[in-house]
């Protein structure tokens, strides 16, 4: 059908149905049944009914390569294929629901706790099984049709339409943030958002139209406008500076617009931006996969506590640590960074000879060692062990309180982030950045070209460690008390996810990665318990759809371009050719007259 094999369509449909069943099993439907995006009808739960069929149909209508030729599915085929795969998926989903109803929801619930009567009610639109099933099937099939449409419709239609829908969903999700911004700016928000709920129908329509129009403008002339803007902004220094100033201005006023609760989320985003920037030097620039980055985070946090006069928690009350100083935070933090650079050298030295997987495993182990030490009785006299520390400095200066006031803390974090971003940027465009780059691309050749790989690996670990420890120091200031639970392997994984999602080697990418992975789950508290699911899903999606990251580094995206000829491919070609030459060469007496050539 439409050039797509029927088997593929059915398989995609079944995947879609299975996806919907999975969403039901993990409890997402019941969780989001009442999260209204637009009006009362369009809830996130209902979007999730449509979504699996949409994704399946979108995937199965992709262009196919048959015998070296690329065949796109046309619009009619796309709609038909989408409808069919949607129906297949809907059939599976409905059958599962029917089975659940027949078997007894309460009996299933003993194993799958998310399968409840309210779930069945939600999925059958309160009509019950089987009366509500046709509607469910129609909705899923519609998802399939839309999926096929989005893949196969002319770009001039599907791009603005997709942008509009995405904008509506995004603004619907941000229903707790945008109204606050409006009120802070002195605007009415009632026309756009229902009070305490999603967009109004009118607001949704406006958002859709505006986003679609903006997208259409951006893509007009078949993308020439976009290219022109990109070229101008990319090359004119004034435009670059303007863009930078604009971003800086937005970052500066953000907490004033968003209020305390959201500023708190932004504070954690900034801490992860700092971690991401540090890890980006190690992984993105130098190409050393470090899975134990939490070591620097923990080191920075505890050392800050020790240097600024924090107490140990003990069963009998507070105690002074075995080693302690009472320095001003703004003095202590530089000592922390310096010491962390030293720790970076210590961690770097034993792993210098390791590459790739082995390096990752060893750093993972080193990170775990640090986590275990923070929680150990052995370290109790120094850092409090399982009970941890409290009373970390509030770093007060000029009447600002960085512990109790999230808006103030945001500015402290922003200052450190700007510093770290500046250092990263300068390094990446310098002789040092070039050496890291060469080393990442081919370590042995870099060595043969005069780059001391030992020195530059250690430098990456030291600088990455210093910046990571600043993240730890800020974290300590922001929460005031330290317990081992904050320093587990999830920190390493999250920081790495931030860097990879944003794009390895890209400084703006780190900011975007942290906003997506830390900011969104923090802002949408309903998502909190699905954080791990979101990370996993986001990373899998990014690896498949956009492996160079959301905002890729130029070089990194080159590495992943399809037409790239790899070094191995050159080698094979060169080998074949040089053998061919060698075969003809030692003619009689080894001499060949030059006239043959000229």
């Amino acid at each position: 059908m439409g050039g797509v094999p029927t088997r593929s369509i059915v398989r995609a449909g079944l995947f879609g149905g299975a996806g919907a069943i999975y969403v039901a099993l993990v409890g997402l439907y019941t969780k989001f049944a009442d999260l209204e995006l637009v009006g009362e009808q369009v809830t996130l739960g209902r979007v999730l009914i449509v979504a699996p069929a949409f994704v399946a149909a979108y995937a199965v209508t992709r262009p196919r390569v048959v015998a070296g030729e690329r065949h796109s599915v046309d619009l009619r085929g796309g709609l038909a294929v989408g409808a069919l795969s949607g129906l297949v998926g809907a059939g599976l989903f409905a059958a599962a629901l029917w089975f659940a109803d027949w078997f007894g929801v309460d009996r299933i619930r003993e194993v799958f706790v998310a399968i409840t009567e309210p779930l069945v009610d939600f999925l059958t639109f309160d009509k019950g099984v089987p009366a509500g099933l046709p509607l469910l099937i129609v909705l899923c099939a519609a998802g399939g049709v839309v999926g096929g449409f989005v893949r196969t419709a002319p770009a001039a239609i599907r791009r603005p339409a997709s942008a509009g829908v995405l904008a509506v969903i995004l603004l619907g999700l941000l229903q707790r943030i945008i109204p606050i911004v409006f009120v802070q700016l002195g605007f009415e928000a009632d026309w756009l958002y229902e009070r305490g709920a999603g967009l109004t129908w009118f607001g949704g329509l406006i958002v859709f139209v505006v986003a679609a129009a903006a997208n259409a403008l951006w893509n007009q002339d078949g993308g020439r406008t976009r290219e022109r803007v990109r070229r101008n902004v990319g090359q004119a220094p004034a435009a670059k500076v303007g863009l930078f100033v604009a971003i800086l201005a937005i970052l500066t006023i953000l907490p004033l617009l968003l209020g305390t609760a959201i500023s708190e989320v932004l504070g954690s985003v900034m801490i992860y931006v700092l971690l991401g920037l540090g890890l980006n030097i190690v992984v993105g620039y130098a190409g050393l996969l470090d899975l134990g980055y939490v070591a620097f985070f923990a080191f920075g946090a505890y050392t800050t506590g020790l240097l600024t006069g924090a107490f140990l928690n003990t069963t009998t009350g507070a105690a002074t640590p075995a080693l302690s100083a009472d320095l001003n935070f703004y003095v202590a933090v530089w000592i922390v960074a310096l010491l962390a650079a030293g720790v970076g050298l210590l961690i770097g030295a034993p792993v210098l000879r390791l590459r790739g997987d082995y390096l990752a495993i060893v750093t993972l182990g080193l990170g775990e060692i640090v986590s275990v030490i923070t929680a150990s009785k052995w370290a109790q006299p120094l850092i409090g062990g399982p009970q941890g520390m409290r009373g970390v400095t509030k770093a007060e200066v000029l009447g600002l309180n960085f512990q109790d006031n999230p808006q103030h803390f945001y500015y402290l974090a922003l200052a450190f982030v700007l510093l770290a971003a500046f250092v990263s940027w300068r390094l990446s465009t310098s002789r040092i950045g070039r050496a890291w780059n060469a080393m990442r691309e081919d370590e042995q050749v870099a060595d043969a070209m005069g780059i001391s790989t030992t020195k530059f690996k250690l430098l990456a670990f030291a600088l990455g460690g210093a910046i990571g420890s600043l993240g730890g120091a800020l974290f300590a200031v922001s929460i005031g008390s330290l317990t081992p639970a904050s320093f587990e392997i999830t920190v390493s994984i999250t920081a790495l996810a931030v860097v990879i999602l944003g794009g390895l080697g890209s400084i703006p990418g780190v900011l975007v990665g942290a906003l997506v992975l830390i900011g969104l789950p923090g802002l949408l508290r309903e998502f909190e318990e699905y954080r791990a699911l979101i990370y996993g899903g986001a990373l899998v999606a990014i690896m498949i759809l956009r492996p160079q990251g959301l905002i890729p580094n130029v070089r990194r995206s080159r590495e992943l371009e399809d037409e790239e000829v790899t070094q191995d491919a050159w080698a094979t070609a060169a080998g074949a050719r040089s053998e061919a030459v060698a075969a003809v060469l030692p003619g009689g007496g080894l001499g060949v007259e030059q006239e043959d050539l000229e």
Binding site: R434, A438, A448, G450, Q567, A571, A574, S578, V592, L597
Partner: protein, 263 residues
């Protein structure tokens, strides 16, 4: 004591991989301003000799002196810093860096900007960066117009095969070497490119004042450039001398063509 005029001096160098002797008892010298070709059938140990000299492998026995100083046991980057630059048998560039950046990497060992200079943008660092750029352009310019102009900003992976070879040589020249070691520089090139390269090798000596040690299979090139030829087989030197001497040496002919059938 050997006379200090030798630029590079190998004495009884041996290297084995397990039981296989890739090099054994290999001795020869390269004098300043010479072009010396190393020939020999596949597996004769030519590339192994390069790797041993440049520090990629340590020799199992014997001595290697460069400008009179022992260089055995030095890391490749230290050897490069002393003034030996090389290319590889299979081209090894930094494919995702631009052409200019590839050449700029060559200047790394001649420059010294550190973290503070780079982050603070100190005037000294900026001047040095400018010098690196100029020096890199200069070595790219050695190959005429092929690697300059708009090409500078292209990734190395965008180059044709022959230009990759040239860029690899330009990168080696950018390390400001005294001795350039080229491992089969004409491999995979067409006859016209081969001829052009032959001239470049001669120009490296005549215009840049460099000493060149070149592994080469193409006898037209060997004949055209060599002041001296060293022939290897099974890791041993089987002949040394002028091109004519070596080309007519019975052992060399036998190594290439095999033993004459008896009877």
């Amino acid at each position: 004591m050997s006379a200090p005029e030798h630029l590079l001096e190998l004495t009884d160098v041996a290297k084995h991989f397990g039981g296989l002797y890739a090099l054994s008892g290999l001795s020869f010298q390269v004098d300043p301003g010479e072009i010396v070709s190393v020939i020999g059938p596949n597996g004769a140990g030519k590339s192994t000799m390069f790797n041993v000299v440049t520090g990629l492998y340590g020799p199992d026995d014997g001595g290697i002196r460069f400008r009179g100083a022992d260089i055995v046991g030095l890391a490749p980057n230290q050897v490069t810093k002393l003034g030996i630059a090389r290319t590889f048998q299979t081209v090894h560039l930094f494919p995702n860096m631009t052409i200019l950046e590839n050449a700029m990497v060559g200047q790394h060992c001649r420059t010294r900007s550190g973290v503070f200079g780079s982050v603070l943008g100190l005037p000294g660092t900026r001047r040095e960066e400018q010098r690196i750029r100029e020096r890199a352009r200069e070595s790219l310019g050695f190959f005429g117009s092929r690697l300059v102009g708009y090409r500078e900003e292209q990734p190395a992976s965008a180059l044709s095969y022959a230009n990759r070879r040239r860029l690899e040589m330009a990168r080696a020249l950018a390390t400001d070497p005294a001795l350039v070691m080229l491992d089969e520089p004409t491999a995979g090139m067409n006859p016209r490119e081969t001829l052009e390269l032959r001239d470049h090798i001669v120009r490296m000596r005549d215009e840049l004042g460099l000493t060149v040690l070149v592994i080469e299979h193409d006898m037209r090139v060997v004949k055209g450039v060599s002041d001296r030829v060293v022939a290897l087989d099974y890791g041993r030197k089987i002949a040394e001398g002028s091109y004519e001497e070596v080309a007519n040496d019975p052992q060399v002919i036998e190594a290439y063509l095999g033993t004459k059938a008896v009877g």
